[in-house]
């Protein structure tokens, strides 16, 4: 019990350091001036040191944890458990700066293609009772992780990034697959498996040194370690012995993180217990984490009020009903979302009307300027919708150059951020220009004839090759998304005019992506993309003309060229500058239309904020989390936030 006060003291020091510097904050940033931003009368360190902290954290999950196999799970939710149970090589600290985890130190060569990690000694795997298995975590376990995913029979998912990045892995994987198919007969499966050590760019140099050789320069490799579960270690012999049972429940897996899964009841409850052998035990502040399944959103709010869970997200609508109640001062706006919502335009679809128009930049801009983004954002946050707007593809506040400048503040992107896209008049003008270019006097669209558009399974539509242009918007049958689509329809038709555009909504349940987006069964499609790691390349290289994420099949050589230039740039700043230009080119040409972020609403919590690692790309960890016996208030949050932001800026500069 000595550890907690020690930790608290450390935290208080961090915050008071920040507080010292906040003596003369820039005037515009003074939180007290903004009536919407109440601040606490206590200082940040007072808030921290005057609270009672609990040993158990109660939380909930809404969809089932089907399996814990971190290599082959489809579900991002599994990460939130795995992140706490299996440690990676590095982890972020509370400011998002990477600090040692299972690797004590690391180094890379000049062009950042060879990364060497020195593994912490004396870390052992434990089982689901917390007992020591005697197996230690070695460099070989990291090599074996790659070996496991490299075998197609193990069915690892989300392979693309890692398979392409680690040298030799791509060929190794497809060789094995060819053997399985019977296409390759010049070697046996055993022979192919034996080539792993020579072929694939991951090696155990000695028992505690692992080296990754990459196919291209990867300054973002540490953030990839945080985000991708494929780079986690595995006790290979154990996993192979378990076969298909590996990690289907808590009893068939081993743990090396801060917690182990001590109790698992499918679709009902999961309990994480503190790993008594953990190497960083002093930072484990919560002994037990109790998850319980709450499938209905409204119930979880009620459960929070009754003290049965420690945090809850509050949707826009619920936010309004909580105003004026005792809970009103505990509503904290959700901080950040790396995910951007945008509209895909289909450049190769079967609808001749839309297809003719979408090639025309004026038409795309007409669409871009017809959306009242604030009104759309109001669906998610009726009080402060502005914070949800996002015009760029990559999120703000997550990619910084070495001077600490935000990537989205590079001039070309800043201009986009500052543009007001709600301009119905301009939208109409753009549309009229497009019409004059593409239609004859009678309103017939040139070069096409009336036809039946086959977008099955979404549906079939008949188009008459005359104005108005038929646009088929395809979305999921999620109630919220339908409402948003209906709102967009009314905006587009009002701005551009029903005489020129006929916006049809089709909702499609189930297999949306595979049956709608991939085979181009749409004209406009709503989707989201998120920045995966601290580099714009994560998204932008996938959006090139032949990129995997170019679902709309546009062809923009200028963009491709900018991306290539960025990838070849010799400094990180230049790289970001080129990427910014590329991103701006795509947005300004309205090839895709990003419009809001995926932020939704508010939350209430009993946790002290900014005490656990800032995991931007992976899932949050409970390391360091402080659980209070009562909800955090917004005033306290704002005070802590102000102190934290200063401390973070300092920490990032020091990094």
């Amino acid at each position: 019990m000595k550890r907690l006060p020690a930790l608290l003291l450390a935290m208080v020091m961090v915050f008071s350091l920040a507080a010292c510097q906040s003596q003369k904050p820039p005037a515009s940033n003074t939180p007290g001036n903004d009536p919407n931003k109440p601040v606490s009368e206590q200082s940040a360190d007072d808030i921290l040191s005057t609270k009672e902290y609990l040993k158990t954290y109660k939380t909930s999950f809404s969809s089932s944890y089907a399996s814990f196999n971190y290599f082959s799970t489809a579900y991002a939710t599994v990460r939130s458990i795995v992140a706490n149970c299996i440690d990676g090589l590095v982890e972020p600290d509370i400011y998002g700066v990477y600090i040692p985890s299972l690797a004590e130190k690391w180094e890379h060569n000049e062009d950042q293609t060879v990364w060497t990690f020195y593994i912490r000694k004396g870390v052992n795997w434990v089982d689901h009772t917390g007992a020591d298995t005697g197996l230690s975590v070695t460099a070989q376990d990291f090599v074996d992780g790659i070996r496991y995913i490299g075998d197609p029979l193990n069915g690892a998912y989300s392979l693309r990034v890692v398979r392409n990045l680690i040298e030799g892995l791509y060929d190794y994987y497809w060789d094995l697959d060819d053997i399985d198919c019977g296409d390759k007969t010049d070697m046996t499966r055993e022979q192919a498996l034996a080539r792993f050590n020579d072929m694939v760019g991951v090696k155990a140099l000695d028992e505690y040194t692992v080296q990754y050789t990459l196919t291209s320069s990867a300054p973002y490799f540490l953030s990839l370690i945080e985000s991708s579960m494929l780079l986690l270690p595995v006790e290979y012999d154990y996993a192979v012995a378990q076969g298909e049972d590996f990690a289907v429940d808590n009893e068939h897996m081993l743990y090396c993180g801060g917690y182990y899964i001590s109790h698992f009841e499918r679709d009902k409850a999961i309990t994480l217990s503190k790993n008594p052998l953990y190497w960083d035990l002093e930072h484990i502040t919560v002994d037990t984490v109790e998850y319980q399944m709450i499938p209905e959103g409204t119930t979880s709010l009620e459960m929070f009020k009754r003290g049965e869970v420690d945090s809850v997200s509050v949707e826009a609508e619920e936010y309004l009903t909580l105003q004026g109640t005792e809970w009103a001062n505990g509503l904290i706006p959700t901080e950040r979302s790396l995910s951007t919502n945008y509209l895909w335009l289909d450049f190769a679809g079967a609808n001749p009307e839309f297809n003719t128009f979408v090639q025309n930049e004026n038409f795309r801009k007409a669409l871009q300027y017809s959306l009242d983004r604030v009104a759309i954002a109001s669906l998610r946050d009726p009080v402060n919708p502005q914070r949800i707007l996002r015009g760029t593809i990559n999120a703000e506040d997550c990619i910084y150059d070495s001077n600490g400048m935000d990537y989205t503040d590079y001039p070309v992107l800043k201009a986009i951020k500052e543009t007001d896209y709600n301009n119905p008049k301009l939208a109409r003008q753009y549309m009229e220009t497009a019409v004059s270019e593409l239609c004859d006097e009678e309103g017939n669209i040139k070069g096409i004839s009336a036809t039946q558009v086959d977008y099955l399974p979404v549906g079939t539509f008949s188009v008459d090759a005359k104005l108005p242009v038929t646009v088929i918007y395809v979305g999921t049958d999620d109630e919220n998304e339908i409402v948003m689509a209906q709102l967009m329809k009314s905006m587009v038709e009002e701005a551009i005019g029903k005489d020129l555009i006929d916006f049809q909504i089709v909702c499609f349940s189930g297999w949306t992506y595979g049956t709608v987006a991939d085979p181009l069964n749409y004209d406009i499609y709503f989707d989201s993309l998120s920045t995966g790691y601290a580099d714009p390349s994560g998204l932008l290289t996938r959006m090139t003309t032949d990129g995997a994420e170019n679902v709309g099949c546009y062809t923009v050589p200028e963009y491709d060229e900018l991306v290539d230039r960025a990838m070849e740039a010799d400094t990180f700043e230049k790289r970001l500058a080129y990427f910014a230009e590329a991103e701006a080119y795509l947005c300004n040409g309205a090839y895709v239309i990003p419009f809001i972020s995926s932020l939704r609403g508010y939350y209430m919590t009993n946790c002290m904020p900014f005490t656990s690692p800032l995991t931007l790309y992976g899932n949050s960890k409970f390391k360091g989390t402080l659980v209070m016996d009562r909800p955090l208030t917004l005033a306290e949050y704002n005070t802590l936030d102000a102190a934290y932001e200063l401390a973070r800026a300092e920490a990032l500069k020091a990094d």
Binding site: S64, A66, S67, N69, S72, T73, A74, Y75, A76, P152, L153, G155, Y157, S158, L159, R160, W174, D177, D180, C181, E244, D245, V248, D249, E265, R266, D267, K268, Q292, M293, I294, P295, E296, T298, T299, E302, M303, R306, E308, P457, G510, W511, T512, Y513, G514, T515, D518, A548, E549
Partner: protein, 312 residues
Amino acid sequence: MRKYILSRILRSLITVAIVFVAVFMLLRLMPLSGYFPQEILKETDEATRMTYLRNQGLLDHPLLQLWRFLQRLFQGDLGRSLTVYPKVPISTLLKEKIPVTAAFGFASMVTGIVLGIALGLLMVRYKDKWGDRAGTVYILLVRAIPSLIYLFFIQVWVSKWFHLPLVFYKNRPSSWILPTICLSLGSIAYYALWLRRFMVDEENRDYVKFAQVKGLSKKEVLRRHVFKNAVIPLTVYIPTDLLFIISGSLIIETLYAIPGTGGLLTSAIKAQDNNLVQVIVLMYAVLSVVGVFLGDLLVAFVDPRIKLTEGE
């Protein structure tokens, strides 16, 4: 009699076989992309997906898949779930889920029968008076109000008034009360409605009038004669109901976070989890055939007037 039972079993087997094969083949008509959730589709390329499907045996000819499934089935292996609970053995899943749902199902069935019969009797006893009217109003309300509305009301407000937990916990018996009540609301109405109907029908029979003319009190007649005869048509459904306590209610299990079988079939179908769907369909088909058969036997047993075979 034996001949009758044998032919019934044979016919039931044919029904089950047709149902199973039909569902099995229908499932194989689904698009291949349906085996992957959206996150996966975006992260993988076509070739990797095909590799995965081939390794799972999903690209083989449907008849070959059927043959393989049957082979495994006779070895007692139900296979593993594909998408809903990736790689989890289906037998494990069912072993975990069925007891929970069955416990609630059984409790609510007992509640439903006991309270339903009580309500039905009350309605007959006070026919066209307050008892009958109150019962009718209850039956109408349960049928007419969209169930989500009153279920939600019960969960949030009734739990508050009686200080009951909002969701189900295995180790807190007080949390079992509300789900059981919610589950039995419908069956109470069902049993009460039909019992009343059958008893009123019986009451118009000549033997009842005769018994009353003989001087038996109304209560006596109801208890000794009418009730017994009116319950017979209800017993047909009891075996089916009893067997189907293992299929839970999607809405109630979701509301109370009960880890049962309620949404299993629907979510398996929507996620295209063929292996899981075919096992559940097979199970339900067998149960329903067995249930109908047992129902017929039970009726023949309680009502000596009914004979299953003609001319015996």
